[in-house]
C-alpha cells in the first residue's frame, strides 16, 4: 500500500516530464547549428566552444557511432542535421555517395585545404590528418619501419593490433593493396596474424598498454593517441603506457610516405541552418581552430603553416603517402574481405 502511495506522485511527475519533452527539443536560440558527428564530441568540444564564443552561434551535437548515413537519409527533408562530421575517408565518402550532402563553394575552404584533401565536387572537406604509425617498445633498437615489416617472422608473438575490420585498419590495408597488390596484402595479413600476441581487438591505446604489459613489442596505432598518452597527467595509467613506447612513422616498401587518414565534414543536404553550417566549417580551418586540433588533440592540421604540438613534432617529419584518398576508399571493401579471408580477427 505504501508503495502505491509513493508511486502516484512519481507517475504524475513522469507524465509531466513526458509532456515537457517536445519543449526541450525546441529551445530557441538566436542562431544555432546542428552537428551530427561520428567523432566523439568531447574531442571537438574545445573547437565548438571557441566557435560559439567567437560567433554567438550555439552548436547542438549528437554523437552517432554507426548509422549516421542511415539516420540522416531516413530523416530526409525533415532532418535537423546541418553539418555531418566523421572520421575516416571511407565514412565521409559514404555520406557523399549516399546523397545526404550538398556542395559548398567557399574561397576560405579552398584556400585552407589542399585540393587532394577535399572533394572536387565540393561535397566534402578534410579538417585534420591522422597518421597511422608504429608503436614500439621503448628499449627496442629500431629506427625505421616499413608497414610490411609487421608480417616479418622476427615479430612472432610480439604484435598487437586492434580489429582488422576497424576503419583505421581497413584503410591501411586498402593502401597496402594499392601499393603492393592484393596478393601481397593477403600474404601480409597472414603474416601479421601469425605474429599476433593477442586477438586483434581493443583500441589503439591498448597497443601501448600491452607493450608495457609485456604482451607485445610492436603494434600499429594512430599517432595522436600517443600524443594524448605522453601528455597525460603524471602518475596516471595513460601516462605510464605512453612513456613505455616510441613512435616511428613507417613507410611502405613501394612508396615513400606514411599512411594518413582524415577527419572531415560535409554540409547536410537538407541543412535547415546552411549558412551557420558553412560558417562553422570555415571556422574549423582557421588558424585558431587548426591550432586547437594540433594542441588539444595532437592531430595534424590540414592547413599548412599551423604549428604542431611539440610531442607530435618529436615524432619526426611526416611524409604523407601520396596515394589519393579516393583510391583508399575504393579499396576498402576488398581490404575488409581480405581480413575475413585470412581470419585475422579469428
Amino acid at each position: 500500500m505504501s508503495i502505491r502511495l509513493r508511486a502516484l506522485p512519481l507517475v504524475r511527475r513522469l507524465s509531466m516530464l513526458a509532456a515537457a519533452l517536445p519543449l526541450m527539443a525546441g529551445t530557441a536560440w538566436a542562431a544555432e547549428v546542428n552537428l551530427y558527428t561520428t567523432r566523439e564530441p568531447k574531442l571537438v568540444e574545445p573547437l565548438l566552444e571557441a566557435f560559439t564564443q567567437d560567433t554567438g552561434v550555439k552548436v547542438n551535437t549528437v554523437f552517432v557511432k554507426d548509422g549516421l548515413l542511415e539516420r540522416v537519409r531516413a530523416e530526409g527533408e525533415q532532418s535537423p542535421a546541418d553539418l555531418l562530421m566523421t572520421v575516416d575517408i571511407g565514412n565521409l565518402l559514404d555520406l557523399v555517395d549516399g546523397g545526404v550532402t550538398q556542395p559548398v563553394d567557399s574561397a576560405a575552404l579552398k584556400a585552407a585545404i589542399p585540393a587532394n584533401l577535399r572533394g572536387d565536387d565540393d561535397q566534402w572537406f578534410t579538417l585534420s590528418l591522422r597518421d597511422r604509425v608504429a608503436y614500439v617498445a621503448k628499449d627496442l633498437d629500431i629506427q625505421t619501419f616499413h608497414y610490411e615489416d609487421l608480417a616479418d617472422p622476427r615479430w612472432k608473438g610480439k604484435v598487437c593490433i586492434r580489429s582488422g575490420q576497424h576503419p583505421y585498419n581497413t584503410a591501411l590495408i586498402a593502401a597496402l593493396i594499392a601499393h603492393d597488390g592484393a596478393e601481397a596484402a593477403e600474404q601480409w595479413l597472414r603474416g601479421v596474424k601469425a605474429n599476433l600476441a593477442r586477438p586483434a581487438t581493443g583500441g589503439d591505446r591498448d597497443v601501448a598498454r600491452d607493450i608495457l604489459g609485456g604482451i607485445c613489442d610492436v603494434g600499429i596505432a594512430n599517432a595522436y593517441y600517443a600524443g594524448h598518452m605522453k601528455n597525460a597527467a603524471e602518475g596516471t595509467d595513460a601516462r605510464r603506457w605512453g612513456d613505455a613506447i616510441r613512435v616511428i612513422r613507417p613507410t611502405f616498401k613501394n612508396a615513400p610516405g606514411t599512411h594518413v587518414n582524415i577527419s572531415g565534414a560535409a554540409v547536410a543536404r537538407h541543412a535547415p541552418h546552411r549558412a551557420e553550417a558553412v560558417q562553422l566549417l570555415e571556422y574549423l580551418v582557421t588558424d585558431k581552430a587548426q591550432s586547437l586540433y594540433a594542441r588539444a588533440n595532437y592531430e595534424y592540421p590540414v592547413k599548412k603553416g599551423v604549428a604542431l604540438d611539440p610531442t607530435v613534432e618529436s615524432f619526426g617529419p611526416l611524409a604523407i603517402d601520396p596515394l589519393p584518398l579516393t583510391e583508399i576508399a575504393r579499396n576498402r571493401k576488398q581490404a575488409s574481405e581480405l581480413v575475413d579471408r585470412t581470419g585475422l580477427n579469428q
Binding site: L10, L14, L21, E40, K65, A74, S336, D340, N345
Partner: protein, 550 residues
C-alpha cells in the same frame, strides 16, 4: 467462452495485435532492406566468415548457457532449500550483477586481470618476478574468458525467474517427494528442477539473447560472434542490405529455437492447485554452512563486487584529484532515469495486455496464439539492427504528423519522435517487450485456471477478473519485469546511440563516449552511476520478493 466473454476480450486482443504490429514494423523494414541486396556476399560469408563465426557463437552460447544456468539455478536452490549464515542477505545480493552492463564488467576485468593490473602484480610479487615480460597469466581476451565473464554477469536472469518458482511452487511437492523417500538431492533433480523448467527457460532465453546480441563485451574480448559479422558487413563494407539479410537469418534461427523449446513443454501444465506454502529450509551447520555461504557469495563477488569495487577505487582516485561529476553528467543521469522509467511504464502496460490476452484467448485459430509470440521478437535482434529498422516506420509516422501539422496550420518542420526522446522510449519498449510478456505469462501460468472459472461463476468479466483476481497475484511478476526492463533500458547502448535527439546523453552513451576516446578512467564515474542507479531497483525488487505473496 461465451459470446459475451468474447466480446469483452476484444480490446485485449486488439492491443496485442497493435503491439505485435509495432514490433513487426522495424523487422518488416529490415526485410525490405534485405530485399534490396544482391546476395552476392553470401559466397564470401559461407566460405570465409560463417564457419568460424558460427563455431565461436555456438561455443559462446553453449558455454554461457550452461554456466549461467548452473549458477542461476544452483544459487536459487541454495537460498530456497537451505538455511545458513548470510542466506537472507545473499538472496537479494545474488541479483546485484544485474546492475552492471556486460561491457562495463569486461572493461573492469581487463584492467583487473591485465599484466599491469593488481592481480598479476600480486602474483609476480609472490613468485619473485619483477617484470610482466618474465611471467604472465593467460590473457582474458579469449572465448573462455568471454564465457566466464558473461555467465557471471547474466546468471541473475535465471536466478530471478527460477527462485520465485522454487519459492512458490516446489514446497508441497518437495514434501511429498521426501515422504516418498527421496533425499534432498534426488527431490531437487526429480521434482524441483522439472517444475522450474518454464522459469529456467524464460531466464535462460534472456541470457542467451543477451549473449547473442552483445556487441560490447564479446568484441572487446576478441570473440567473433554473428552479431560482430553483421556489424562488419554493415559498417565496414557499407552493405546494409547484406547485414539485414544476416540479421534476418539469425532472427529466424533464434525464433526456431524458442519455438522448439516451447513445443517441448507444450503439453505440460505447471499450475499447482494449492495455495503456495513456503518451502521448509534444511538448516546447515558447521563446515556445510560455511561452504554454502561461500558458494552463494562467489557469483556476487565475481559478477558484481570485484568490478564495482574496482570502479569505486577509480572514482575515489579521481575525486581525490578534485575532479567530480560534471553538470553534463548529472543531466545524463536525469535523462537516463526519465527515459528508462517511461519505457518501463509503457512496456509493463503493453506486456500485461499481451500476456492477459493470451490467457483469455479462446484457442480457435493458431494465428491468434502467434500474436503474443510476435510481440516478443524485438529482443532477438541486435539493438542497432532493430534501431535501423525502426528508422523507417518512425519516419513514416513523422511524415504523417508533419502533414497533419501542415493541414491544421501549424509549422510542419521538425521531428516529433526523433527530435525528442520519444523515439528512444519506443525503441526500448519494442526491444524489451519480451521481458514483461515472458515473466507475466510465466506468472499467469502459475495461477490455476480454476480461479478463472470461479471468478467467472461469481460474475466477474475479463477486466474485473484481471483487476481483482490476477493482478494482485501477479504483483511479484510485475515487480520483477519492471526491474528487468528498467535496468535493461538504462544499460541499452546501440539503439540509444542511433536514435537519441541532439544534446541528449544517457549514462550508457556517456560512458561509451569516454571509452571511444580511450579514457576509461574518466568513464568510471558514469559506469559507477549506472551501477548505483541499477542497484536501487534491484534492492526494491529484492524487498518485494521477500514479501509473502498476496
Amino acid at each position: 467462452m461465451t459470446a459475451n466473454g468474447r466480446f469483452q476480450a476484444w480490446p485485449w486482443h486488439a492491443g496485442t495485435a497493435l503491439a505485435a504490429l509495432a514490433v513487426l514494423a522495424p523487422i518488416l523494414a529490415l526485410v525490405g532492406q534485405a530485399g534490396q541486396g544482391s546476395g552476392a556476399h553470401w559466397g564470401h560469408l559461407l566460405q570465409f566468415v560463417l564457419p568460424g563465426v558460427l563455431a565461436q557463437t555456438l561455443g559462446l552460447l553453449i558455454g554461457v548457457g550452461l554456466l549461467a544456468a548452473a549458477l542461476g539455478v544452483g544459487a536459487a536452490w541454495l537460498v530456497t532449500a537451505y538455511d545458513f549464515p548470510g542466506r537472507r542477505a545473499l538472496s537479494w545480493a545474488l541479483l546485484l550483477p544485474l546492475a552492471v552492463p556486460t561491457y562495463i564488467v569486461a572493461y573492469a576485468y581487463l584492467d583487473i586481470l591485465h599484466p599491469l593490473g593488481p592481480v598479476q602484480e600480486a602474483v609476480r610479487a609472490l613468485l619473485g618476478y619483477s617484470s610482466p615480460r618474465e611471467f604472465r597469466l593467460p590473457d582474458l581476451r579469449s572465448l573462455p574468458g568471454a564465457i566466464v565473464l558473461l555467465a557471471f554477469v547474466l546468471y541473475p536472469y535465471v536466478y530471478l525467474t527460477t527462485r520465485s518458482m522454487f519459492a512458490s511452487q516446489a514446497a508441497h511437492l518437495m514434501e511429498a517427494a521426501r515422504l516418498l523417500g527421496h533425499g534432498p538431492w534426488s527431490a531437487f533433480l526429480r521434482v524441483a528442477l522439472p517444475l522450474a523448467r518454464p522459469a529456467i527457460a524464460v531466464g535462460l532465453c534472456l541470457v542467451l539473447l543477451e549473449t547473442l546480441n552483445d556487441i560490447g563485451a564479446s568484441e572487446f574480448l576478441g570473440v567473433q560472434t554473428l552479431t560482430v559479422a553483421i556489424y562488419t558487413t554493415w559498417v565496414t563494407r557499407s552493405d546494409l542490405a547484406g547485414a539485414a539479410q544476416i540479421a534476418l537469418v539469425s532472427l529466424a534461427l533464434v525464433t526456431l529455437l524458442i519455438a522448439v523449446e516451447r513445443r517441448g513443454r507444450r503439453r505440460l501444465r505447471y499450475t499447482g492447485n494449492r495455495r503456495a506454502a513456503p518451502i521448509r529450509r534444511h538448516v546447515l551447520h558447521g563446515p556445510a554452512a560455511c561452504l554454502a555461504t561461500l558458494l552463494g557469495l562467489a557469483p556476487v563477488l565475481i559478477g558484481f563486487a570485484a568490478p564495482a569495487a574496482y570502479l569505486l577505487a577509480l572514482v575515489l582516485e579521481r575525486l581525490g584529484t578534485g575532479q567530480g561529476p560534471s553538470p553534463a553528467l548529472l543531466r545524463a543521469v536525469g535523462q537516463t532515469l526519465t527515459v528508462s522509467a517511461l519505457a518501463t511504464l509503457f512496456a509493463l502496460a503493453i506486456g500485461l495486455v499481451v500476456a492477459w490476452s493470451r490467457r483469455i484467448l479462446p484457442r480457435v485459430h493458431a494465428w491468434q496464439g502467434a500474436l503474443p509470440r510476435l510481440a516478443t521478437l524485438g529482443y532477438a535482434v541486435p539493438g542497432t539492427v532493430l534501431a535501423i529498422g525502426l528508422l523507417f516506420p518512425l519516419m513514416a509516422i513523422e511524415r504523417g504528423l508533419s502533414a497533419l501539422r501542415a493541414a491544421t496550420g501549424m509549422d510542419p518542420a521538425g521531428l516529433v519522435l526523433l527530435g525528442t526522446p520519444a523515439a528512444l522510449a519506443l525503441a526500448y519498449v519494442i526491444r524489451f517487450l519480451t521481458i514483461p510478456v515472458g515473466t507475466l505469462e510465466a506468472g499467469l501460468d502459475r495461477i490455476p485456471p480454476s480461479l478463472d472459472q470461479a471468478a467467472r461463476l461469481l460474475g466477474e468479466n475479463v477486466h474485473g477478473m484481471l483487476r481483482r483476481v490476477h493482478l494482485p497475484l501477479l504483483r511479484p511478476a510485475l515487480a520483477a519485469s519492471a526491474l528487468l526492463i528498467f535496468v535493461d533500458a538504462m544499460k541499452e547502448l546501440p539503439a540509444t546511440l542511433l536514435l537519441r535527439p541532439l544534446n541528449f546523453d544517457t549514462l550508457a552513451t556517456w560512458l561509451y563516449a569516454e571509452a571511444a576516446r580511450g579514457t576509461y578512467e574518466e568513464g568510471a564515474i558514469a559506469a559507477l552511476c549506472i551501477v548505483v542507479a541499477g542497484l536501487l531497483p534491484v534492492i526494491l525488487l529484492a524487498r518485494l520478493m521477500d514479501r509473502p505473496t498476496a
